[in-house]
């Protein structure tokens, strides 16, 4: 029993424990769920030291027979890629529990149970080294999300949940067929064995065979990403999902798709990956621009953030199919960054929703006056999301674009327009929701009182350029500032935004090592050596541990 097994089954145990609690004890359930998920997080922290510096090999490997016939094994392990995705799952689960604290008031027990079951599925997905086991976890994670949307969602939740379910099922059926086909062909579900068989030439797949298998996997993953034009389930799922559902969906579940592409599609079907890369890259770039343009005109905050995810995940897919170290590192970094900043955006939208029960941008305006901290945090998250240097998304976007430019400069030119557009839609959103004059809705109008004259805010004073009324900090009980609990959920993400933005070397070595191995199996030569003879001798560079290959 390795530490990884403990981390993996702890959420399942927590799920079972929550089920044992009496359904009416809402408070105990919440606290228990939070405590258990925090324990899981702390346990997962202990995984970091081992994998951190040597991410290229699998650590905490466990390989035992699960089902004799067919030969399905419980084979798990963790490399640099899996490590941070597992950490993302274990971090966001307690965060998701915290944001649901007040918001979820019916069927509380099931809600938290499903969240923990979801965590179990997600961790399983990121550590499975047996294709069938992977598939089982893939489906396990689907079920709780379906219920999270379908039970605790908004008005059109059934439509959204069914759409989500059908879309994903359509893909995973194909993937299952491909997995079974591979098994028939090779007699094993074991990912490492399969990879070894393929790369050593002992398992030879015909061209059509390989292409079809690649497409079957690719289709399943592309839906999950979601890659344009398979993205239309996402806006609906997000709009209807409760806050925690949106957070988990955007932050972690979408990464299952990109993770699958990187873990399975690329190494198992290298030729097919390379052959099909051109049109996939085109779809990714179209997704970047299309997602941003459509986000720009959304009247609904959650839809806006959802379409922005389509755009951001386009960067990831672009990076994955540019086949070089920079692009792959950037893609994985972008997966993590998007998990943090978009998760935070959905939380903040959720906070707004809890205050005014609307997701329409037009229902808001001037929120900065009554809730300055909320708006400050939203601004920081916005800046992270649009890739401001020193915050998390920048590193990933830069590396993806750099890698894409190395593969084909034109790709980078088109994809980089997404960076301009992201500033447009996010700043416009921020302006419409937080800036301007605050107007309390009719119900609260009499309660909103001018208070604390002269303290702040955003008002031309005696010599500013506008009408010179006295500046007031407004207090509106309907729009309070961040509560302690809301802060507690946000703060880890805020810290990570800055941390990932400024000290990227905490995370990149493990990622880079794992990607270097993937590139090796892909058989892509590192071709981007310097073309000019004039280059500073490497001795001039700082003496540090050479990059693990």
């Amino acid at each position: 029993m390795t530490l990884l097994d403990v981390v993996m089954f702890a959420p399942a145990l927590a799920f079972a424990l929550i089920l044992l609690l009496p359904a009416a004890a809402h408070d105990i359930i919440r606290k228990a769920a939070l405590a258990l998920s925090l324990i899981v997080f702390l346990l997962s922290l202990a995984l970091v030291p081992a994998v951190w510096q040597a991410g290229s090999s699998y650590h905490f490997e466990a390989d035992v027979q699960w089902i004799h016939y067919p030969n399905i094994r419980y084979h798990v392990g963790m490399d640099g890629l899996g490590l941070w995705l597992v950490m993302l799952s274990t971090l966001l689960t307690p965060v998701g529990i915290l944001v649901s604290w007040r918001h979820i008031d019916r069927r509380v027990k099931e809600f938290y149970a499903f969240l923990l079951l979801l965590e179990f599925g997600l961790i399983g997905v990121f550590v499975s080294l047996d294709l069938f086991l992977f598939y089982v976890f893939w489906e396990v994670s689907l079920v709780p999300m379906y219920f999270l949307i379908g039970i605790w969602g908004h008005e059109r939740r059934i439509y959204a949940a069914v759409k989500f379910f059908l879309y994903t099922m359509a893909g995973s059926v194909l993937m299952l067929a491909a997995i079974i086909y591979l098994y028939n062909k090779s007699g094993t579900f074991d990912y490492l064995v399969l990879q070894e068989l393929i790369s050593s030439g002992r398992l030879i797949l015909g061209h059509l065979e390989q292409t079809l298998l690649f497409l079957a996997f690719f289709f399943a993953f592309a839906i999950k990403v979601p890659l344009f034009p398979l993205h239309t389930w996402l806006p609906d799922a997000h709009v209807e999902a409760p806050t925690a559902g949106s957070v988990m969906l955007a932050s972690v579940m979408l990464k299952m798709g990109t993770y699958g592409l990187l873990r399975f599609c690329l190494p198992l079907f290298p030729e097919a990956s390379r052959e099909n890369a051109p049109w996939i890259v085109v779809l990714a770039i179209v997704g970047i621009i299309y997602g941003a343009l459509v986000a720009m005109v959304q009247p609904n905050m959650k839809k806006l953030v959802a379409y922005s995810s389509v755009s951001h995940l386009g960067f990831v897919v672009l990076g994955l199919f540019s086949f070089n170290q920079n692009a792959l590192d950037g893609a994985v970094y972008q997966m993590l960054s998007h998990g943090i900043s978009t998760g935070a955006l959905f939380m903040l939208v959720g906070y707004l929703y809890e205050r005014r029960h609307s997701l329409e941008i037009a229902a808001y305006g001037g929120v900065a006056s009554p809730a300055p901290w909320l708006s400050s945090v939203f601004l920081i998250t916005t800046l992270a999301s649009i890739g401001l240097p020193t915050l998390n998304n920048f590193v990933g976007e830069f590396l993806v674009l750099q890698g894409a430019a190395r593969a084909n400069f034109t790709w980078a030119v088109f994809a980089a327009t997404g960076v301009i557009l992201s500033a447009c839609y996010m700043l416009w959103l921020y302006q419409r929701v937080f800036l301007g004059r605050y107007a309390a809705p009719a119900a609260h109008a009499e309660a909103a009182e001018a208070h604390d004259p002269g303290a702040d805010h955003g008002h031309p004073g005696p010599h500013g350029p506008g009408p010179g009324e006295a500046a007031n900090r407004l207090h509106d009980p309907g729009m309070p500032d961040l509560s302690i609990r809301e802060w507690a959920a946000m703060l880890p993400l805020l810290i990570l935004m800055v941390w990932m933005g400024t000290a990227a070397q905490t995370f990149l070595p493990a990622i880079g090592a794992s990607n270097a191995r993937t590139l090796e199996t892909l058989g892509v030569q590192e071709e981007y050596r310097v073309k000019t003879p004039a280059r500073a001798p490497s001795a001039a560079l700082p003496q540090e541990v050479a990059h693990a290959r």
Partner: protein, 614 residues
């Protein structure tokens, strides 16, 4: 020598005022904000005093920001003569403006917020200047853009202010798009973004292989410069940026941030001089921007708008100098411009302060008697910008124009014509505001010492700053320029400036009705200039509206909702019974859910069994 302290001190100031500012008194906020910049300035002086020689660039390396494959980005600062000049300007002028702002903002809401942003700006600007690689420079580059956005939209209750902030950020992002692509090409070509690697590599590049790629890189970097330094076609954000408080206009949108593009080009002179095409483009864009915005400045009535267009125009001058190969002259103009343009804005702020918010030149007049200190200091700035010898603007403008003549004589003549216009519009503003009779309704009062003391210092620098030996100091940094001192060329430009002043005196003091008559006579031209050639309207109609409308009606409602979802829902509708089946899943009974999961797994395993039997 701990260069990092220079930017980090204001960052600490930002952190304190940003987080605790709401609880701090205004005195404490001012002390922290001004104090941190003061310490930073002192540290700059100390560091420079410790630099016995600038023979080799001094580099401090702190840590690796990120590394991927063979691309490694360090956080490292460098110091050479060019950096030294910029550091002195940024911290020196920055300190004066911080001090001024404590007076100017004394009665405004959001005092702590203002100073927090201002300190944050100092941090990013100093990072930009100190950075020893392109990506770190880009950090500062985007960071100052952020602060610009925050401070333009400082009066966030007003839609015009926040819209101007968005415009500034987004237009700058278009420039940054070019900057980024330039960096990507640089990494592909040189494998690094470090100045220490890239510039020597450029030097060694054989011209026949290098010309194409170096032209591409330098042009892309220049796109970045047109955004940050407000050149054609991306200058449109700067005039709108005047929505911010006046100290912001002085610090960010006149003295420091907008010169970042000039600094960047000067820093990359190796790259730029290797491409004739780029140098020509830089010169022409600079010159065209100088002329275009000067003509707009002729007729504006908002005192800050006049100076804003003047800034755009003067930045154009700087690029003209760079494009002509006179890098030192361009940087020299950054320095003198920082003095007189900061002074013009702070003086304008003092006027606006005195008139309780009035910015319309037509509603001023006769203020000479009411606010004499402001008048005299503004006059010092005006003679400096008009190029009247021996004041500061004369020296730097002269250096640029002579270089332009050496490069292409016609550019010199256009530059001279622009100098005449510059002198005219600045003195037009002076005469309209300070001469004649007061046309407004407020009760003008002189500003407090915290405001006029910086004015006095800047006035002194505007008058005498031309004698700071910037050109000589920078000589070892840039390629040598052939000296060409034709006294006649100097005479022409000085005459042009004086003629502009004289014409303004005639039109606004001697014959006050003349300007109106002229405007009526040439109504079409006047309207064109007054409306800034309708460039904003053209951009909106040609780019913004089609993109937004197209995204809404074609992409979203057409493609997304109708086409894709139409297909998906069509499939879904046919299998409606599946949906109905699924609704049963919501029994709310956890055991039944579990049963479903188990059942699902069973189906899968059975399917698998069939597969395995085959």
């Amino acid at each position: 020598m701990n260069l990092w302290l220079i930017p980090v001190l204001p960052l600490i100031g930002f952190a304190i005022t940003g987080i605790f500012g709401r609880r701090l008194s205004r005195t404490a906020v001012s002390a922290i904000a001004v104090g941190s910049v003061f310490l930073s300035f002192v540290w700059v002086l100390r560091v420079l005093a410790g630099m016995s020689t600038f023979e080799a660039p001094y580099v401090e390396r702190y840590f690796t920001w990120f590394r991927s494959g063979d691309l490694s980005i360090d956080v490292s600062f460098g110091l050479d003569r060019l950096t030294a000049v910029m550091l002195l300007v940024v911290t020196g002028v920055g300190l004066l403006i911080h001090l001024y702002a404590t007076g100017y903002m004394a009665h405004e809401g959001g005092y702590y917020r203002f100073f927090a942003f201002l300190n944050l700006f100092m941090f990013f600007m100093l990072v930009l200047v100190l950075a020893n690689n392109f990506l770190l420079m880009f950090v500062g580059w985007e960071g100052v853009g952020l602060c610009s956005y925050l401070l333009i939209g400082f009066y966030f209750l007003e839609k015009f202010a926040t819209t101007a902030g968005n415009k500034a950020f987004i237009v700058n992002r278009i420039g940054d798009f070019g900057f980024s692509l330039g960096m990507f090409l640089m990494v592909i070509t040189f494998g690094s973004l470090s100045f220490d690697t890239v510039f020597p590599a450029v030097e060694k590049m054989p011209p026949e292989t290098g010309a194409g790629i170096l032209t591409a890189i330098s042009l892309l970097l220049f796109v970045g410069a047109t955004g940050k330094s407000a050149q054609i076609p991306l200058y449109v954000w700067l005039p709108d940026a005047m929505a911010g408080p006046t100290p912001v206009s002085a610090l960010i949108h006149a003295a420091t941030m907008v010169t970042a593009g000039v600094y960047m080009v000067a820093r990359c002179w190796t790259l730029f001089t290797h491409s004739q095409v780029t140098m020509e483009v830089v010169a022409i864009i600079g010159l065209a921007t100088a002329v275009l915005s000067a003509t707009i400045g002729l007729v504006q009535n908002d005192i800050k708008k006049v100076f804003a267009y003047s800034t755009v125009s003067q930045l154009g001058y700087m690029f003209l100098g760079l494009g002509s190969g006179a890098f030192a002259a361009g940087v020299f103009h950054i320095v003198t411009h920082a003095f007189f343009k900061a002074l013009l804005f702070l003086g304008a702020g003092s006027v606006i302060h005195a008139l309780a918010g009035e910015q319309d030149l037509q509603r001023m007049g006769g203020l000479r008697k009411h606010i004499p200190i402001t008048f005299w200091t503004l006059l010092a700035a005006a003679v400096a910008i008009a190029g009247v010898p021996p004041f500061s603007g004369f020296h730097s403008k002269d250096a640029i124009l002579i270089a332009a003549h050496h490069h292409a004589p016609w550019m010199y003549w256009v530059g001279v014509a622009t100098a005449a216009m510059t002198a005219f519009y600045v003195f037009r503003a002076i005469f309209l505001a300070f001469f004649g009779e007061y046309r407004g309704t407020a009760h003008p009062h002189e500003s407090p010492p915290a405001m006029w003391a910086p004015l006095a210092v800047l006035a002194f620098l505007s008058l005498a700053g031309g004698y700071i030996p910037v050109l000589e100091f920078l000589e070892p940094v840039f390629p040598h320029m052939e000296e060409e001192h034709d006294i006649l060329l100097v005479m022409f430009s000085v005459m042009a400036g004086l003629a502009g002043i004289a014409l303004a005196y005639f039109m606004y003091v001697l014959r006050p009705g003349f300007a109106g008559a002229l405007a009526a006579r040439f109504a079409g031209a006047y309207r064109l200039l007054y409306n800034k050639y309708f460039v904003d309207e053209i951009y909106a109609a040609a780019i913004v509206d089609p993109v937004v409308q197209g995204s809404r009606s074609i992409l979203w409602r057409g493609f997304d909702v109708h086409l894709i979802d139409g297909i998906v829902n069509g499939i879904g509708h046919r299998s409606h019974n599946i949906g109905a089946l699924m609704r049963m899943w919501q029994s709310g009974n956890i055991r039944s859910y579990a049963a479903w999961v188990v059942l699902g797994s069973l189906i899968v395993i059975i399917a698998l069994g069939f597969g395995g039997l085959r």
